[in-house]
Amino acid sequence: MAKRLLVVEDGERLLRALAVTLIEEGYEVATARNGAEALVSVSEKLPDLIISDILMPVMDGISLARLLRANARTALVPIIFLSTQTEIENSITALRTGVNACIGKPFDPDDLLAAVAGILNN
């Protein structure tokens, strides 16, 4: 069965481009435009992996990751952050919240696909 991914990104066009790329790789893709929408999506159906932007309106990626980690049902869902902040501190904050990987924008889609495959195969 195809693995289900949740992509959380406020940039509408990037969200669409990511979804198309991942669907072409054979994944089942759900999308959300911020952390709050992501929580709704997760409560409806648990994804196998979450790819999330950090800087978003309403609820940012860090808060989303904290909430997911604090809940027993979602604590183990792997998360990949698409970080826009170049500073290393932010990546460290992200990793402290239990995020599995941080990919800096602008990234090569192949790197993202490799990270997704790597985490899902583990």
Binding site: R13, R16, A17, E37, D53, P57, V58, K105, D108
Partner: protein, 404 residues
Amino acid sequence: LNAGEAISVIYQPGLSSRADAMLRVARSKLALILRRYAVAVWTVGLASAATLLLTPLMPPGVSPLFLLAIVVSAWKGGLGPGILATALSALVTVSLLLPPVFTFEVGREDGLQLVVFIVVAIVIGMLSASRGKAEAERKGLLQRERAARIAAERASAVKDEFLAAASHELRTPLTTIKILTRMLLRKDPPERERREYLRDIASECDRQIDLVDNLLDSSRIEAGGVQIKPGRVNAIEVIRACEGSFRVQAAEHRHELTIDVAPAMPLVNADSDGLRRSLSTIVENAIKYTPDGGRIYLRTYSVGNQQVVIEIEDNGRGIHPEDLPHIFDKFYRGRASGSGAGGASASPPEIQGIGLGLYLARVLVEGMKGSIEARSEIGVGTTVILRLPTYDEIQLAASAGRGM
């Protein structure tokens, strides 16, 4: 980043009008007077109570003077130290010079006691006054230091936020472009999808160009090199030139756009490119932050032969009252307010950009000796009012200036 810089980052010069500044001064003066009045009332009240309590211990005829001493030293030295000093001096005087308490007789000793008492009260009162002053100065310095530190911290937070936003706004479209070009290069998508990808790439490129333009312009302003060359400009022509692009954008969001331009208006003192850019920013914001299917109204009128006013009104979600005074500040980005006029539960659109558009609009309009202002109510809409002096008015003012 020193405090001065920090404050100038926060308080953009020219942000508040002169009327605002005068109102603020008047308000703080009134507050000061009220505060002094309150202190005076308290001082007299407390001094009276203290005098009543101490009267049995004092030689006759001293209590009015004692009251006076308390009031004076408290007024000069501050409430606490003044009363304490006077009370102490009274106690010391009374206990030293009147060993058998309560057996007063009016005589020469009383005169001596009185003199000693007053001298001691005055000396202590003066000492406490100078201490009070030093204390007040120290407090003032501390307060200023704290205010400067808070301003510096805020400025640094604003800068950090700006860097994060700029990085986000630049990198996100680049990522989209990268992913879409990869798809176009590697796969051979059907014609319809191909066109869609190309359109997305084109709009992300436009967004990048706008951003880079704004960033460069604001750094040029920083360097003091923004060149605005106002001349005789027909505002109607500028609006008409932008109309097509406004209509396309409004149609994308199904907004009803009404452009109500007076048939003839005096020529304004403006830089036509600067005016076009300011106007575009304002109208594009109205389009972007009004829920789809909204109403946007642009109207113009002239005030005598002195001023031309351009108003852009929308029935969008409105600007939060706390954001409203800052929307023309550099790097300021408002919060997304949830209550849309449409009442839909859909989440508000992302607050886009890096907080430079309206700031640049204000700088440009002020460079033309005009002004820009916004009125807004949450859930009702926002009106931005752009006022430009007429060319004749500026010429008149200039010649009056030369005549003086």
